[in-house]
Protein backbone atom coordinates (compact mmCIF):
# COMPACT_ATOMS: atom_id res chain seq x y z
CA UNK A 1 0.00 0.00 0.00
CA UNK A 2 2.78 2.38 0.98
CA UNK A 3 4.44 1.51 -2.28
CA UNK A 4 1.33 2.50 -4.16
CA UNK A 5 1.56 5.95 -2.61
CA UNK A 6 5.18 5.96 -3.64
CA UNK A 7 4.18 5.27 -7.23
CA UNK A 8 1.56 7.99 -7.12
CA UNK A 9 4.11 10.38 -5.64
CA UNK A 10 6.30 9.66 -8.61
CA UNK A 11 3.55 10.37 -11.13
CA UNK A 12 4.36 14.06 -11.77
CA UNK A 13 7.84 12.98 -12.80
CA UNK A 14 6.35 11.06 -15.69
CA UNK A 15 5.85 14.23 -17.63
CA UNK A 16 9.62 14.58 -17.90
CA UNK A 17 11.49 11.76 -19.69
CA UNK A 18 13.94 11.84 -22.55
CA UNK A 19 13.43 12.90 -26.13
CA UNK A 20 10.69 10.91 -27.92
CA UNK A 21 12.82 10.24 -31.01
CA UNK A 22 14.85 7.31 -29.65
CA UNK A 23 12.22 5.66 -27.46
CA UNK A 24 9.88 2.87 -28.62
CA UNK A 25 6.28 4.05 -28.99
CA UNK A 26 4.35 0.75 -29.11
CA UNK A 27 5.75 -1.67 -26.57
CA UNK A 28 4.22 -5.11 -25.97
CA UNK A 29 5.20 -7.07 -22.88
CA UNK A 30 4.48 -10.80 -22.83
CA UNK A 31 5.72 -11.88 -19.40
CA UNK A 32 4.12 -11.33 -16.01
CA UNK A 33 7.29 -9.87 -14.51
CA UNK A 34 8.29 -7.64 -17.43
CA UNK A 35 4.64 -6.50 -17.54
CA UNK A 36 4.95 -5.07 -14.06
CA UNK A 37 8.37 -3.52 -14.60
CA UNK A 38 7.13 -1.97 -17.85
CA UNK A 39 3.98 -0.58 -16.22
CA UNK A 40 6.16 1.04 -13.57
CA UNK A 41 8.64 2.56 -16.00
CA UNK A 42 6.71 3.26 -19.24
CA UNK A 43 5.26 6.60 -20.24
CA UNK A 44 1.53 7.08 -20.67
CA UNK A 45 0.55 5.48 -23.99
CA UNK A 46 3.92 3.86 -24.52
CA UNK A 47 2.84 0.38 -23.42
CA UNK A 48 0.45 -1.16 -25.95
CA UNK A 49 -0.28 -4.49 -24.27
CA UNK A 50 0.59 -6.65 -21.27
CA UNK A 51 0.20 -10.39 -20.78
CA UNK A 52 -3.10 -11.90 -19.60
CA UNK A 53 -1.46 -13.13 -16.42
CA UNK A 54 -0.80 -9.54 -15.33
CA UNK A 55 -4.54 -9.20 -14.62
CA UNK A 56 -4.62 -12.20 -12.29
CA UNK A 57 -4.62 -10.73 -8.79
CA UNK A 58 -3.07 -13.90 -7.32
CA UNK A 59 0.10 -13.68 -9.37
CA UNK A 60 0.22 -10.02 -10.30
CA UNK A 61 0.88 -7.24 -7.82
CA UNK A 62 -0.43 -4.71 -10.34
CA UNK A 63 -3.62 -6.42 -11.51
CA UNK A 64 -5.60 -3.17 -11.25
CA UNK A 65 -3.18 -1.25 -13.42
CA UNK A 66 -3.03 -4.15 -15.88
CA UNK A 67 -6.81 -3.94 -16.32
CA UNK A 68 -6.31 -0.62 -18.11
CA UNK A 69 -4.13 -2.19 -20.82
CA UNK A 70 -5.12 -4.51 -23.66
CA UNK A 71 -3.89 -8.02 -22.94
CA UNK A 72 -2.04 -10.62 -25.02
CA UNK A 73 -1.52 -14.36 -24.52
CA UNK A 74 2.07 -14.51 -25.65
CA UNK A 75 1.25 -15.88 -29.11
CA UNK A 76 3.40 -14.67 -32.00
CA UNK A 77 0.43 -14.03 -34.26
CA UNK A 78 -1.53 -11.76 -31.95
CA UNK A 79 1.62 -9.90 -30.93
CA UNK A 80 2.60 -9.30 -34.55
CA UNK A 81 -0.88 -7.95 -35.26
CA UNK A 82 -0.37 -5.37 -32.49
CA UNK A 83 2.43 -3.94 -34.67
CA UNK A 84 4.84 -3.32 -31.81
CA UNK A 85 8.13 -1.51 -32.26
CA UNK A 86 9.48 -3.40 -29.24
CA UNK A 87 8.50 -6.66 -27.57
CA UNK A 88 9.64 -7.42 -24.04
CA UNK A 89 9.84 -11.06 -23.00
CA UNK A 90 11.15 -13.08 -20.09
CA UNK A 91 13.98 -15.55 -20.54
CA UNK A 92 11.75 -18.59 -20.21
CA UNK A 93 8.58 -17.22 -21.77
CA UNK A 94 7.94 -19.00 -25.05
CA UNK A 95 11.35 -19.07 -26.69
CA UNK A 96 9.82 -20.25 -29.96
CA UNK A 97 7.53 -17.22 -29.98
CA UNK A 98 10.50 -14.95 -29.44
CA UNK A 99 12.49 -16.43 -32.31
CA UNK A 100 9.42 -16.25 -34.55
CA UNK A 101 8.97 -12.57 -33.73
CA UNK A 102 12.62 -11.92 -34.45
CA UNK A 103 12.27 -13.64 -37.82
CA UNK A 104 9.36 -11.31 -38.52
CA UNK A 105 11.66 -8.37 -37.83
CA UNK A 106 10.19 -7.31 -34.48
CA UNK A 107 12.87 -6.22 -32.01
CA UNK A 108 12.64 -8.28 -28.79
CA UNK A 109 14.27 -7.39 -25.48
CA UNK A 110 14.68 -10.49 -23.32
CA UNK A 111 14.85 -10.06 -19.54
CA UNK A 112 16.39 -12.55 -17.13
CA UNK A 113 14.15 -13.49 -14.19
CA UNK A 114 15.31 -11.84 -10.98
CA UNK A 115 17.14 -14.23 -8.67
CA UNK A 116 18.15 -11.64 -6.09
CA UNK A 117 17.23 -8.20 -4.80
CA UNK A 118 20.16 -6.83 -6.81
CA UNK A 119 18.40 -8.15 -9.92
CA UNK A 120 15.32 -6.07 -9.07
CA UNK A 121 17.56 -3.03 -9.30
CA UNK A 122 19.28 -4.22 -12.52
CA UNK A 123 16.04 -5.14 -14.27
CA UNK A 124 14.45 -1.80 -13.36
CA UNK A 125 17.44 0.08 -14.77
CA UNK A 126 17.47 -2.05 -17.90
CA UNK A 127 13.74 -1.49 -18.36
CA UNK A 128 14.46 2.23 -18.09
CA UNK A 129 17.04 1.87 -20.83
CA UNK A 130 14.98 -0.13 -23.31
CA UNK A 131 11.93 2.09 -22.81
CA UNK A 132 14.00 5.26 -22.99
CA UNK A 133 13.01 6.26 -19.44
CA UNK A 134 16.32 6.02 -17.54
CA UNK A 135 15.57 8.84 -15.07
CA UNK A 136 12.29 7.33 -13.98
CA UNK A 137 13.94 3.94 -13.50
CA UNK A 138 16.66 5.54 -11.45
CA UNK A 139 14.13 7.26 -9.21
CA UNK A 140 12.34 3.95 -8.68
CA UNK A 141 15.64 2.27 -7.79
CA UNK A 142 16.54 5.03 -5.34
CA UNK A 143 13.15 4.71 -3.64
CA UNK A 144 13.52 0.92 -3.58
CA UNK A 145 17.00 1.12 -2.03
CA UNK A 146 15.89 3.57 0.61
CA UNK A 147 12.96 1.45 1.69
CA UNK A 148 15.04 -1.74 1.54
CA UNK A 149 17.64 -0.26 3.87
CA UNK A 150 14.88 0.59 6.35
CA UNK A 151 13.34 -2.87 6.23
CA UNK A 152 16.40 -5.10 6.18
CA UNK A 153 16.75 -7.04 9.39
CA UNK A 154 19.91 -6.69 11.45
CA UNK A 155 22.06 -9.79 10.79
CA UNK A 156 22.67 -10.56 14.48
CA UNK A 157 21.77 -14.12 15.43
CA UNK A 158 19.21 -14.74 12.66
CA UNK A 159 16.61 -17.43 13.43
CA UNK A 160 16.36 -20.33 10.98
CA UNK A 161 13.48 -20.50 8.53
CA UNK A 162 12.59 -23.03 5.87
CA UNK A 163 10.74 -22.09 2.71
CA UNK A 164 8.35 -24.84 1.72
CA UNK A 165 6.25 -24.95 -1.39
CA UNK A 166 3.90 -27.42 -3.11
CA UNK A 167 5.40 -30.81 -3.99
CA UNK A 168 8.00 -30.31 -1.26
CA UNK A 169 10.07 -27.73 -3.07
CA UNK A 170 12.24 -25.32 -1.19
CA UNK A 171 14.18 -22.26 -2.33
CA UNK A 172 17.73 -21.44 -1.38
CA UNK A 173 19.69 -18.23 -1.12
CA UNK A 174 20.31 -18.06 -4.86
CA UNK A 175 16.66 -17.18 -5.51
CA UNK A 176 14.63 -14.02 -5.18
CA UNK A 177 12.48 -15.35 -2.33
CA UNK A 178 15.63 -16.71 -0.65
CA UNK A 179 17.16 -13.24 -0.82
CA UNK A 180 13.93 -11.71 0.49
CA UNK A 181 13.97 -14.04 3.50
CA UNK A 182 17.63 -13.26 4.10
CA UNK A 183 17.01 -9.52 3.89
CA UNK A 184 14.19 -9.93 6.40
CA UNK A 185 16.72 -11.37 8.84
CA UNK A 186 16.34 -15.16 8.63
CA UNK A 187 18.83 -17.94 7.99
CA UNK A 188 17.65 -20.34 5.28
CA UNK A 189 17.59 -24.04 6.16
CA UNK A 190 18.00 -24.91 2.46
CA UNK A 191 21.68 -23.90 2.57
CA UNK A 192 22.32 -26.61 5.20
CA UNK A 193 21.22 -29.13 2.58
CA UNK A 194 23.27 -27.63 -0.22
CA UNK A 195 20.22 -26.20 -1.99
CA UNK A 196 21.17 -22.85 -3.49
CA UNK A 197 18.52 -22.38 -6.17
CA UNK A 198 15.27 -24.36 -5.99
CA UNK A 199 15.22 -28.01 -5.06
CA UNK A 200 13.21 -30.81 -3.59
CA UNK A 201 13.50 -30.99 0.19
CA UNK A 202 12.00 -34.22 1.48
CA UNK A 203 9.52 -33.65 4.31
CA UNK A 204 11.69 -35.87 6.52
CA UNK A 205 14.70 -33.62 6.13
CA UNK A 206 12.61 -30.54 6.78
CA UNK A 207 11.45 -32.07 10.07
CA UNK A 208 14.99 -33.16 11.02
CA UNK A 209 16.31 -29.64 10.36
CA UNK A 210 13.89 -28.40 13.06
CA UNK A 211 13.72 -24.80 11.81
CA UNK A 212 12.35 -21.99 13.92
CA UNK A 213 9.72 -21.23 11.29
CA UNK A 214 8.34 -22.74 8.10
CA UNK A 215 7.17 -20.24 5.51
CA UNK A 216 4.88 -21.32 2.67
CA UNK A 217 3.17 -19.54 -0.20
CA UNK A 218 -0.49 -18.70 -0.49
CA UNK A 219 -2.88 -21.24 -2.00
CA UNK A 220 -3.86 -21.14 -5.63
CA UNK A 221 -7.37 -21.28 -7.03
CA UNK A 222 -8.87 -24.71 -7.36
CA UNK A 223 -7.51 -27.82 -5.72
CA UNK A 224 -4.43 -29.90 -6.22
CA UNK A 225 -2.75 -32.85 -4.64
CA UNK A 226 0.60 -31.04 -4.85
CA UNK A 227 -0.57 -28.53 -2.29
CA UNK A 228 -1.79 -31.12 0.20
CA UNK A 229 1.80 -31.45 1.47
CA UNK A 230 1.33 -27.97 2.94
CA UNK A 231 -1.47 -29.48 5.06
CA UNK A 232 0.55 -32.48 6.26
CA UNK A 233 -0.06 -32.74 10.03
CA UNK A 234 3.68 -32.93 10.72
CA UNK A 235 4.14 -29.35 9.50
CA UNK A 236 2.23 -28.11 12.52
CA UNK A 237 4.88 -29.60 14.79
CA UNK A 238 7.99 -29.46 12.59
CA UNK A 239 8.94 -25.89 13.41
CA UNK A 240 9.13 -24.48 16.92
CA UNK A 241 7.15 -21.43 15.92
CA UNK A 242 4.85 -23.22 13.53
CA UNK A 243 4.13 -22.72 9.87
CA UNK A 244 3.45 -19.31 8.41
CA UNK A 245 1.06 -19.42 5.48
CA UNK A 246 0.69 -15.73 4.85
CA UNK A 247 3.30 -15.25 2.16
CA UNK A 248 1.36 -13.84 -0.78
CA UNK A 249 2.58 -15.11 -4.13
CA UNK A 250 2.12 -11.90 -6.06
CA UNK A 251 4.50 -10.12 -3.72
CA UNK A 252 7.49 -12.27 -4.46
CA UNK A 253 7.16 -14.19 -7.73
CA UNK A 254 8.45 -11.21 -9.69
CA UNK A 255 11.44 -9.03 -9.07
CA UNK A 256 9.65 -5.70 -8.84
CA UNK A 257 9.80 -3.13 -6.02
CA UNK A 258 6.71 -4.91 -4.68
CA UNK A 259 9.00 -7.49 -3.05
CA UNK A 260 9.43 -4.90 -0.31
CA UNK A 261 5.96 -5.85 0.90
CA UNK A 262 7.11 -9.47 1.28
CA UNK A 263 10.24 -8.38 3.14
CA UNK A 264 8.12 -6.26 5.45
CA UNK A 265 5.75 -9.16 6.08
CA UNK A 266 8.55 -11.59 6.90
CA UNK A 267 10.54 -9.19 9.04
CA UNK A 268 7.38 -8.51 11.05
CA UNK A 269 7.28 -12.25 11.70
CA UNK A 270 10.87 -12.11 12.84
CA UNK A 271 10.02 -9.30 15.21
CA UNK A 272 7.17 -11.38 16.64
CA UNK A 273 9.48 -14.37 17.10
CA UNK A 274 12.08 -12.35 18.93
CA UNK A 275 9.38 -10.65 20.98
CA UNK A 276 7.99 -14.06 22.00
CA UNK A 277 11.36 -15.34 23.17
Amino acid sequence: MRLLFLCIALLPGWALGSSPGDMPQRVVSMNLCTDQLAMLVADEGQLASVSALARDPRSSAMADRAATFPINHGRAEEIHLLKPDLVIAGRFSATTTVSMLRRLGVPVAVFEPATSLADVRNNLLRMGQVLGQPERAQRLVAAFDGRLAMLSGPPLDPPEAALYFPNGYTRGEGTLIGDIVKAAGFDNVASDYGVNAGGHLPLEQLVMAAPELVITGSRHDGYSRSETIMRHPVLAQAARSGTHRGLINREWVCGTPRVLAAIERISTLRGQLIGAQ
Binding site: P166, G199, M208, A209, D221, Y223, S224, I229, V234, A238
Partner: protein, 327 residues
Protein backbone atom coordinates in the same frame (compact mmCIF):
# COMPACT_ATOMS: atom_id res chain seq x y z
CA UNK B 1 0.11 -73.93 2.61
CA UNK B 2 0.78 -72.95 6.21
CA UNK B 3 4.48 -72.69 5.46
CA UNK B 4 3.78 -70.49 2.46
CA UNK B 5 1.60 -68.12 4.50
CA UNK B 6 4.17 -68.05 7.32
CA UNK B 7 7.01 -67.20 4.96
CA UNK B 8 4.89 -64.51 3.24
CA UNK B 9 4.06 -62.98 6.63
CA UNK B 10 7.75 -63.04 7.50
CA UNK B 11 8.67 -61.43 4.17
CA UNK B 12 6.02 -58.70 4.52
CA UNK B 13 7.05 -58.04 8.14
CA UNK B 14 10.72 -57.79 7.17
CA UNK B 15 9.97 -55.42 4.30
CA UNK B 16 7.70 -53.36 6.59
CA UNK B 17 10.59 -52.92 9.04
CA UNK B 18 12.99 -52.12 6.21
CA UNK B 19 10.54 -49.56 4.83
CA UNK B 20 10.60 -47.81 8.21
CA UNK B 21 14.39 -47.36 8.20
CA UNK B 22 14.80 -46.22 4.59
CA UNK B 23 14.43 -42.53 3.89
CA UNK B 24 16.17 -39.33 2.88
CA UNK B 25 16.99 -38.45 6.49
CA UNK B 26 19.90 -40.72 7.45
CA UNK B 27 18.93 -42.24 10.78
CA UNK B 28 20.34 -45.46 12.26
CA UNK B 29 17.88 -48.40 12.47
CA UNK B 30 18.05 -48.71 16.27
CA UNK B 31 17.51 -45.00 16.82
CA UNK B 32 14.65 -45.15 14.32
CA UNK B 33 12.73 -47.87 16.15
CA UNK B 34 13.34 -46.25 19.53
CA UNK B 35 11.93 -42.99 18.20
CA UNK B 36 8.99 -44.84 16.67
CA UNK B 37 7.99 -46.42 19.96
CA UNK B 38 8.62 -43.55 22.37
CA UNK B 39 6.31 -40.59 22.35
CA UNK B 40 8.76 -37.72 22.49
CA UNK B 41 8.27 -34.63 20.40
CA UNK B 42 11.76 -34.82 18.90
CA UNK B 43 12.18 -34.30 15.16
CA UNK B 44 13.25 -37.93 14.91
CA UNK B 45 10.06 -39.31 16.44
CA UNK B 46 8.01 -36.96 14.26
CA UNK B 47 9.71 -38.34 11.18
CA UNK B 48 9.12 -41.92 12.26
CA UNK B 49 5.54 -41.56 13.51
CA UNK B 50 4.12 -38.98 11.13
CA UNK B 51 5.97 -39.66 7.89
CA UNK B 52 7.49 -43.15 7.66
CA UNK B 53 4.91 -45.14 9.63
CA UNK B 54 1.90 -44.00 7.55
CA UNK B 55 3.90 -44.64 4.39
CA UNK B 56 4.71 -48.23 5.37
CA UNK B 57 1.16 -48.91 6.56
CA UNK B 58 -0.28 -47.53 3.32
CA UNK B 59 2.07 -49.71 1.28
CA UNK B 60 0.65 -52.75 3.09
CA UNK B 61 -2.96 -51.60 2.68
CA UNK B 62 -2.59 -50.72 -0.99
CA UNK B 63 -0.51 -53.79 -1.87
CA UNK B 64 -2.85 -56.18 -0.08
CA UNK B 65 -5.84 -54.57 -1.81
CA UNK B 66 -4.33 -54.95 -5.25
CA UNK B 67 -3.06 -58.50 -4.68
CA UNK B 68 -6.35 -59.65 -3.20
CA UNK B 69 -8.56 -58.06 -5.83
CA UNK B 70 -6.32 -59.37 -8.62
CA UNK B 71 -6.55 -62.92 -7.28
CA UNK B 72 -10.32 -62.65 -6.80
CA UNK B 73 -10.93 -61.30 -10.31
CA UNK B 74 -8.70 -63.91 -11.90
CA UNK B 75 -10.56 -66.60 -9.98
CA UNK B 76 -13.99 -65.32 -10.88
CA UNK B 77 -13.27 -64.57 -14.52
CA UNK B 78 -11.06 -67.67 -14.75
CA UNK B 79 -8.61 -65.60 -16.68
CA UNK B 80 -4.97 -64.96 -15.70
CA UNK B 81 -5.00 -61.57 -17.45
CA UNK B 82 -7.60 -60.02 -15.14
CA UNK B 83 -6.24 -57.30 -12.88
CA UNK B 84 -7.72 -54.03 -11.56
CA UNK B 85 -5.03 -51.89 -13.21
CA UNK B 86 -5.19 -53.49 -16.64
CA UNK B 87 -8.96 -53.64 -16.66
CA UNK B 88 -9.32 -49.94 -15.95
CA UNK B 89 -10.84 -50.29 -12.49
CA UNK B 90 -7.96 -48.39 -10.86
CA UNK B 91 -8.21 -45.88 -13.68
CA UNK B 92 -11.89 -45.23 -13.14
CA UNK B 93 -11.29 -45.04 -9.36
CA UNK B 94 -8.64 -42.41 -10.08
CA UNK B 95 -11.17 -40.49 -12.16
CA UNK B 96 -13.58 -40.51 -9.23
CA UNK B 97 -10.83 -39.31 -6.88
CA UNK B 98 -9.68 -36.56 -9.24
CA UNK B 99 -13.26 -35.32 -9.64
CA UNK B 100 -13.70 -35.30 -5.86
CA UNK B 101 -10.51 -33.26 -5.39
CA UNK B 102 -11.15 -30.83 -8.23
CA UNK B 103 -14.80 -30.20 -7.37
CA UNK B 104 -13.86 -29.52 -3.78
CA UNK B 105 -15.78 -32.53 -2.51
CA UNK B 106 -12.66 -33.96 -0.89
CA UNK B 107 -12.05 -30.84 1.16
CA UNK B 108 -15.73 -30.28 1.96
CA UNK B 109 -16.00 -33.56 3.84
CA UNK B 110 -13.17 -36.05 4.41
CA UNK B 111 -14.98 -39.16 3.23
CA UNK B 112 -15.74 -37.48 -0.09
CA UNK B 113 -12.45 -38.62 -1.58
CA UNK B 114 -12.66 -42.38 -0.89
CA UNK B 115 -16.39 -42.45 -1.61
CA UNK B 116 -15.95 -40.80 -5.00
CA UNK B 117 -13.08 -43.18 -5.84
CA UNK B 118 -15.31 -46.05 -4.72
CA UNK B 119 -18.06 -44.85 -7.06
CA UNK B 120 -15.54 -44.64 -9.91
CA UNK B 121 -14.21 -48.13 -9.20
CA UNK B 122 -17.73 -49.51 -8.97
CA UNK B 123 -18.53 -48.12 -12.38
CA UNK B 124 -15.29 -49.61 -13.73
CA UNK B 125 -15.91 -53.14 -12.41
CA UNK B 126 -19.53 -52.98 -13.46
CA UNK B 127 -18.58 -52.01 -17.01
CA UNK B 128 -15.94 -54.75 -17.16
CA UNK B 129 -18.28 -57.50 -16.02
CA UNK B 130 -20.95 -56.14 -18.36
CA UNK B 131 -18.70 -55.88 -21.41
CA UNK B 132 -16.65 -59.02 -20.91
CA UNK B 133 -19.24 -61.18 -19.15
CA UNK B 134 -18.28 -63.96 -16.80
CA UNK B 135 -17.92 -66.36 -19.75
CA UNK B 136 -16.10 -63.82 -21.94
CA UNK B 137 -12.81 -64.81 -23.48
CA UNK B 138 -9.48 -63.12 -22.83
CA UNK B 139 -9.78 -60.97 -25.90
CA UNK B 140 -13.06 -59.30 -25.02
CA UNK B 141 -11.87 -58.87 -21.42
CA UNK B 142 -8.61 -57.17 -22.40
CA UNK B 143 -10.24 -55.02 -25.06
CA UNK B 144 -12.92 -53.88 -22.64
CA UNK B 145 -10.12 -53.11 -20.14
CA UNK B 146 -8.15 -51.11 -22.69
CA UNK B 147 -11.22 -49.09 -23.63
CA UNK B 148 -12.12 -48.32 -20.01
CA UNK B 149 -8.54 -47.44 -18.97
CA UNK B 150 -8.04 -45.23 -22.01
CA UNK B 151 -11.30 -43.40 -21.42
CA UNK B 152 -10.66 -43.00 -17.68
CA UNK B 153 -7.12 -41.71 -18.12
CA UNK B 154 -8.23 -39.31 -20.84
CA UNK B 155 -10.93 -37.98 -18.49
CA UNK B 156 -8.40 -37.62 -15.67
CA UNK B 157 -6.13 -35.61 -17.97
CA UNK B 158 -9.04 -33.49 -19.15
CA UNK B 159 -10.25 -32.70 -15.63
CA UNK B 160 -6.74 -31.83 -14.44
CA UNK B 161 -6.07 -29.70 -17.50
CA UNK B 162 -9.30 -27.79 -16.91
CA UNK B 163 -8.33 -27.05 -13.31
CA UNK B 164 -7.47 -23.43 -12.51
CA UNK B 165 -4.73 -24.70 -10.24
CA UNK B 166 -1.25 -24.47 -11.80
CA UNK B 167 -0.08 -27.71 -10.18
CA UNK B 168 -2.99 -29.86 -11.27
CA UNK B 169 -1.61 -30.72 -14.71
CA UNK B 170 1.61 -32.13 -13.29
CA UNK B 171 -0.46 -34.48 -11.14
CA UNK B 172 -1.54 -36.52 -14.14
CA UNK B 173 1.65 -38.52 -13.55
CA UNK B 174 0.66 -39.30 -9.98
CA UNK B 175 -2.76 -40.56 -10.98
CA UNK B 176 -1.31 -42.70 -13.77
CA UNK B 177 1.69 -44.11 -11.89
CA UNK B 178 0.96 -43.87 -8.17
CA UNK B 179 3.12 -42.80 -5.25
CA UNK B 180 3.15 -43.02 -1.47
CA UNK B 181 5.39 -40.03 -0.87
CA UNK B 182 4.43 -37.65 1.96
CA UNK B 183 1.18 -39.32 2.93
CA UNK B 184 -0.01 -38.97 6.51
CA UNK B 185 -1.99 -40.95 9.08
CA UNK B 186 -5.09 -39.14 7.84
CA UNK B 187 -4.79 -41.08 4.60
CA UNK B 188 -4.44 -44.35 6.52
CA UNK B 189 -7.66 -43.69 8.45
CA UNK B 190 -9.38 -42.64 5.23
CA UNK B 191 -8.55 -45.85 3.35
CA UNK B 192 -8.45 -48.48 6.08
CA UNK B 193 -12.19 -48.93 6.82
CA UNK B 194 -13.05 -49.33 3.14
CA UNK B 195 -10.19 -51.75 2.55
CA UNK B 196 -11.11 -53.85 5.59
CA UNK B 197 -14.74 -54.07 4.53
CA UNK B 198 -13.85 -54.93 0.94
CA UNK B 199 -11.20 -57.36 2.13
CA UNK B 200 -13.76 -59.29 4.17
CA UNK B 201 -16.14 -59.41 1.19
CA UNK B 202 -13.43 -60.75 -1.10
CA UNK B 203 -11.91 -63.17 1.43
CA UNK B 204 -15.29 -64.87 1.94
CA UNK B 205 -15.36 -65.61 -1.79
CA UNK B 206 -12.77 -68.31 -1.17
CA UNK B 207 -15.18 -71.28 -1.31
CA UNK B 208 -17.33 -70.08 -4.22
CA UNK B 209 -14.21 -69.38 -6.28
CA UNK B 210 -12.88 -72.88 -5.60
CA UNK B 211 -16.23 -74.29 -6.63
CA UNK B 212 -16.25 -72.25 -9.82
CA UNK B 213 -13.10 -73.97 -11.07
CA UNK B 214 -15.45 -76.89 -11.80
CA UNK B 215 -17.55 -74.69 -14.02
CA UNK B 216 -20.51 -72.43 -13.32
CA UNK B 217 -23.11 -75.18 -13.51
CA UNK B 218 -21.17 -77.35 -11.06
CA UNK B 219 -20.76 -74.38 -8.72
CA UNK B 220 -24.50 -73.75 -8.79
CA UNK B 221 -25.11 -77.41 -8.18
CA UNK B 222 -22.88 -77.08 -5.10
CA UNK B 223 -25.24 -74.44 -3.79
CA UNK B 224 -23.35 -71.28 -4.80
CA UNK B 225 -25.58 -68.41 -5.92
CA UNK B 226 -23.60 -67.02 -8.82
CA UNK B 227 -25.38 -63.67 -8.94
CA UNK B 228 -24.52 -63.16 -5.28
CA UNK B 229 -20.89 -64.15 -5.84
CA UNK B 230 -20.73 -61.70 -8.69
CA UNK B 231 -22.23 -58.85 -6.65
CA UNK B 232 -19.88 -59.56 -3.77
CA UNK B 233 -16.88 -59.53 -6.11
CA UNK B 234 -17.90 -56.26 -7.71
CA UNK B 235 -18.51 -54.46 -4.41
CA UNK B 236 -15.46 -55.95 -2.70
CA UNK B 237 -13.12 -55.08 -5.56
CA UNK B 238 -14.53 -51.57 -5.85
CA UNK B 239 -14.08 -51.00 -2.11
CA UNK B 240 -10.43 -52.09 -1.92
CA UNK B 241 -9.32 -50.66 -5.27
CA UNK B 242 -11.27 -47.43 -4.80
CA UNK B 243 -9.84 -46.69 -1.37
CA UNK B 244 -6.27 -47.61 -2.38
CA UNK B 245 -6.36 -45.55 -5.54
CA UNK B 246 -7.80 -42.55 -3.70
CA UNK B 247 -4.71 -42.34 -1.48
CA UNK B 248 -1.96 -43.78 -3.68
CA UNK B 249 -2.95 -43.28 -7.32
CA UNK B 250 -3.00 -46.02 -9.93
CA UNK B 251 -0.43 -48.76 -9.34
CA UNK B 252 -0.55 -51.29 -12.13
CA UNK B 253 0.46 -54.93 -12.49
CA UNK B 254 0.56 -55.84 -8.76
CA UNK B 255 -2.70 -57.74 -9.05
CA UNK B 256 -1.37 -59.50 -12.14
CA UNK B 257 2.13 -60.49 -11.03
CA UNK B 258 1.47 -61.60 -7.48
CA UNK B 259 -1.32 -64.17 -8.11
CA UNK B 260 0.64 -65.46 -11.09
CA UNK B 261 3.78 -66.07 -9.00
CA UNK B 262 1.91 -67.62 -6.10
CA UNK B 263 -0.57 -69.78 -8.03
CA UNK B 264 1.74 -72.82 -8.40
CA UNK B 265 2.53 -72.64 -4.68
CA UNK B 266 -1.11 -72.96 -3.57
CA UNK B 267 -1.93 -75.87 -5.86
CA UNK B 268 -3.81 -73.58 -8.28
CA UNK B 269 -6.76 -73.25 -5.88
CA UNK B 270 -8.22 -69.74 -6.36
CA UNK B 271 -9.65 -69.73 -2.84
CA UNK B 272 -6.30 -70.33 -1.20
CA UNK B 273 -4.69 -67.85 -3.54
CA UNK B 274 -6.68 -64.96 -2.01
CA UNK B 275 -4.88 -64.71 1.33
CA UNK B 276 -1.50 -65.50 -0.15
CA UNK B 277 -1.96 -62.83 -2.85
CA UNK B 278 -2.97 -60.20 -0.28
CA UNK B 279 0.29 -60.83 1.60
CA UNK B 280 2.30 -61.07 -1.60
CA UNK B 281 0.81 -57.81 -2.90
CA UNK B 282 1.69 -56.05 0.35
CA UNK B 283 5.27 -57.35 0.03
CA UNK B 284 5.54 -56.24 -3.60
CA UNK B 285 4.31 -52.69 -2.98
CA UNK B 286 6.51 -52.39 0.13
CA UNK B 287 9.49 -53.51 -1.95
CA UNK B 288 8.65 -51.13 -4.79
CA UNK B 289 8.22 -48.27 -2.31
CA UNK B 290 11.61 -49.07 -0.73
CA UNK B 291 13.25 -49.21 -4.15
CA UNK B 292 11.88 -45.83 -5.29
CA UNK B 293 13.53 -44.30 -2.24
CA UNK B 294 16.82 -46.13 -2.79
CA UNK B 295 17.14 -45.67 -6.56
CA UNK B 296 16.22 -41.99 -6.78
CA UNK B 297 15.89 -40.58 -3.27
CA UNK B 298 15.43 -36.99 -4.51
CA UNK B 299 13.05 -37.44 -7.39
CA UNK B 300 9.81 -39.02 -6.10
CA UNK B 301 10.01 -41.82 -8.64
CA UNK B 302 6.52 -43.24 -9.11
CA UNK B 303 5.64 -46.72 -7.87
CA UNK B 304 3.97 -47.67 -11.15
CA UNK B 305 7.31 -47.32 -12.92
CA UNK B 306 8.80 -50.15 -10.87
CA UNK B 307 5.74 -52.40 -10.89
CA UNK B 308 5.51 -51.99 -14.68
CA UNK B 309 9.14 -53.04 -15.10
CA UNK B 310 8.29 -56.31 -13.38
CA UNK B 311 4.72 -56.60 -14.61
CA UNK B 312 4.83 -55.68 -18.29
CA UNK B 313 7.25 -58.46 -19.37
CA UNK B 314 5.18 -60.95 -17.40
CA UNK B 315 2.02 -59.65 -19.05
CA UNK B 316 3.60 -60.17 -22.47
CA UNK B 317 4.60 -63.66 -21.42
CA UNK B 318 1.02 -64.42 -20.38
CA UNK B 319 -0.33 -63.10 -23.67
CA UNK B 320 2.22 -65.31 -25.47
CA UNK B 321 0.92 -68.27 -23.49
CA UNK B 322 -2.75 -67.54 -24.17
CA UNK B 323 -2.32 -66.35 -27.76
CA UNK B 324 -3.94 -69.42 -29.21
CA UNK B 325 -7.04 -68.49 -27.28
CA UNK B 326 -6.70 -64.85 -28.32
CA UNK B 327 -6.26 -65.68 -32.03
Amino acid sequence: MKRLLASLILLTGGLFALSLVVGPAAIGPIASFQALLTDTQTPLSLVMQEIRLPRAILAVIVGASLGLSGAAMQGYLRNPLAEPGLLGISGSAALGAVLAIQLGLASAFPLGLPLAALAGALLGVFLITLLAGSRGGSLSLILAGIAISALASAMVSLVLNLSPNPFATSEIVFWMMGSLADRSMEHVWLALPFVLLGGVLLATLSRPLDAMTLGEDAAEALGMRLSRVRRQLIIGTALVVGASTAVAGTIGFVGLVVPHLLRPLVGAMPGRLLGASALGGAAMVLLADILVRVILPEADLKLGVLTAFIGAPLFLHLIYQTRRELA
